[in-house]
Amino acid sequence: MSTTNPSTKPLGALAAGARAGRDGVAADGAVAPERRRRGLRLPRWNRVASPLLLLAVWQLVSVTGLISATKLPPPTKVISTAYTLITTDSPAYGTLQHALLASLGRVAVGFALGAGCALILATIAGLSRFGEDLVDPLMQMLRTLPLFGLVPVFIVWFGIGQLPKVLLIAIGAAIPLYLNTFAGIRGVDGRLGELGTVLGLRRTELVRHIVLPGALPDVLVGLRQSLGVAWLSLVVAEQLNTNAGLGFIINQGTQFLQNDVIFVALAVYTILGLLTDWMVRVVERRALGWRRGLLVR
């Protein structure tokens, strides 16, 4: 393929870049390197500068005793606490990785359940009026319901075990994905539907080749929002009675007045959220390579 050597093609940078967009790295190298250096590298360092400055101030304020280190443990303390939590299996906290796995499992099951249902329901609602009338009113009702207001009800219904936590995450994750997927399917250019008719596509082919790929950009936006809500729901759900997970560590940290432990758990939540968001962005870059020609410009 021409991806590795687009410069030999008399196509111009735009076409070459879009063509190379199949694999992200090669594309980045291929498209106007000058612009990348000036337009992206520099601001990227600028963007790192202010958080680093914040960390430095935080460290200084804490170490000099301006704010008590028990209230605001310095970053170095948070890191060393994290190290201790990883290396020692204390009776109060267990290990950090154990908590991490418990939380990850919860969010994975809840998210998979919610996202799966959302995709199926949005496809049903998106593809037919009948499906819309059937599904959409219920989803709109669910959407307006305050999610975390359900917590006490869930405790009454399902107790304080795994089920209410997973359900809370599932419902939280389902809604943005449903809304975006539904809108995406309905937003597919009707003229492409006509094209499908002219080309003699069967209904399943139309859905597979035109409708779903057309909705994909919206699905991915929904996916990112859903992941955000899923992590948020996890934090809230883990404030319920838990004996494992990051929320459990936070609860224990509160009881033992160990703010450094709470900060570690919060940092892990943040890192996990950033990681999943980054994963969707990678998928986005690969799956939506066809738009690259426009995005790079």
Partner: protein, 266 residues
Amino acid sequence: MAPRAAGALADSRSAAGSGPTASGAGGPGNVAGPVVSVSGLTRRFGERTVLSSLDLEIEAGEIVALIGRSGSGKSTLLRALAGLDEHPDGEVAIQGTVAMAFQEPRLVPWRRVIDNVTLGLRGADPAGRARQALTEVGLDDHRRAWPLTLSGGEAQRVSLARALVREPSVLLLDEPFGALDALTRIAMHRLLLALWEEHLPAILLVTHDVDEALALADRVLVLGDGRIAHQSAVALPRPRDRDHPDLIALRNRLLSELGVDTKGTQ
């Protein structure tokens, strides 16, 4: 010059275009009788009657241009033939397969050029046939490109390849060159004629451009009052000189037909 003109241009209401293109019977449209026959086609949108008991026949391998003022129902007729209209009254019979190219090329943006051509393509070796079609329009090099990176002319050529790879007996073209610049349009006319000579489909070309109709068609239809108000056969060999006296006479005639229409319906 005058006698030749009379011979070359047969103006009539009933002349079915069995002119120089009757040889098209050797192509994919190898069927007895017309490949398109429409009778009593009527289409209303609410109060407005766009097509009113329209009759039309197109022979195998014939190139027919359809002109008319905007809103005269050109596209409506084409959509009825393409099966895109769910509520037409009247009879539409088509022998063989229909393919269509639109004014905007309508390439599916998330499918590469070749995957646009193979979309919905049945039968053996769709990829090989698609490459053959792309080669014919001079775009085999671009087969892995994304549609959004193509120029207008290139995209329209892909659209033509996608239509022709299906070996249609009838090719419907809805102002396919309307959005292209003049130079590209001339190149596209040549390409279309070359492809037609190779595959010999019957072509129904909707256009608002009288010169385009005269450059390409065996027969030019003028749509007015919801039916074929006028038709002229063009019996000059292609490629045609735009300034040929016969064409000038015919152009004036067609323009006046279009003008008369404007007065007729207010």
